[in-house]
Amino acid sequence: MTDVKPTMTDSDVMDFIAQGYVLLEGIIGEDFNSQCDALPKGNANAFISSDVFKKELLLHPKLAGVARSLLGENFRVPDGGHHHVYEAPHYGQTWHSDGLSGSGYDVTTLQCYYYPKAVEIEDGPTMILPGSHCRAVDREAIAHYGDVLGQVSLTVPAGTVALTRYGIWHKAGPKTNDQKRSMIKFSYYRASSPIRDWQIDSKEIPEYKNRARLPYVTEVESYRDRVRRERTWNWLCGVNT
């Protein structure tokens, strides 16, 4: 992946560290989006590993540029994933992070959500909780959580891709209509040691500039967030922490 150019600046990377996601709205064109119409739900390994998916989506300069910025040179391109489809109304999922993700301060995996069709609030959009990506959580122990101040419903135009630090709290939101809602999920992986090789103006590594406190965060947690963010920044810059 040496020919992929990083697209993020220091400031962009600092934003990602605080929020845990990057949203690229409407970057994929209708021609390709419509090719996903016939994709069955469930395992989508064959489609995601196809040449056309790789060319039109996985190596799209804006999408791959974020992956290159946050995962370094020679990042591993997805070769499989899952097609999530909802049609009937439902209560939505409970908040969770996938697998056993969430702990630590590194950035080794970017889990992506691609929406071939526009998503409205009634369609049950994916919901994410910005800044939750380093909070390892037992999903069954928080299944009674409801609305959270600062949660984001990904109501997006067709062709949007969200890249998240694996571990971000998310869920399928409540769905009140019977329109088909489609999301293709896949992940990019780090394959090299971290180094500050995104778009930079000088070789001198700046200190992390802290971002605003998130709406749901308590006083002490805001101090912890600052420490967590600094650790991730230093890790991404290849500085021993």
């Binding site: 909070r135 928080i142 409801g146 939101g173 308590t218 006083e219």
Partner: protein, 119 residues
């Protein structure tokens, strides 16, 4: 329940002077005869202090149809104390010892108060 039925009877007495009782009026009477049911409100406060602002919330209402509802960013109450002023009773306070305080790791959002109201 008794007060609700008395209010219904008073209203119907006035109404009967002008028009007959309808099936909707009888449905309203049936609602008056319902035993009160427990509502549960989870409030995640930003500290164990009941005056602290709220970070997260969830309202379990057994009287409404069990169907999906859209997410909201509108706080039901600004604080636990405000919910109490509206008639909610606290049935569980957050137990500080349950909230780990080790280095910078964390797996919770706020301090969980559980409240109930019988309606």
């Amino acid at each position: 329940m008794k007060e609700a039925v008395e209010r219904w009877i008073d209203a119907q007495k006035k109404k009967l002077r002008k028009e007959p009782v309808t099936s909707e009026d009888l449905d309203a009477l049936m609602n008056c005869l319902q035993e009160p049911r427990q509502h549960v409100l989870y409030l995640y406060s930003k500290s164990t202090n009941m005056r602290s602002p709220i970070a997260s919330w969830s309202h379990c209402d057994p009287t409404k149809p069990q169907e999906p509802t859209l997410p909201s960013q509108e706080l039901p109450y600004a604080s636990v104390l405000e919910a109490m002023a509206d008639g909610w009773r606290v049935v569980q306070f957050p137990i500080s010892k349950l909230y780990r305080y080790e280095e910078v790791d964390n797996d919770y959002l706020g301090f969980e108060f559980v409240l109930e109201k019988w309606i």
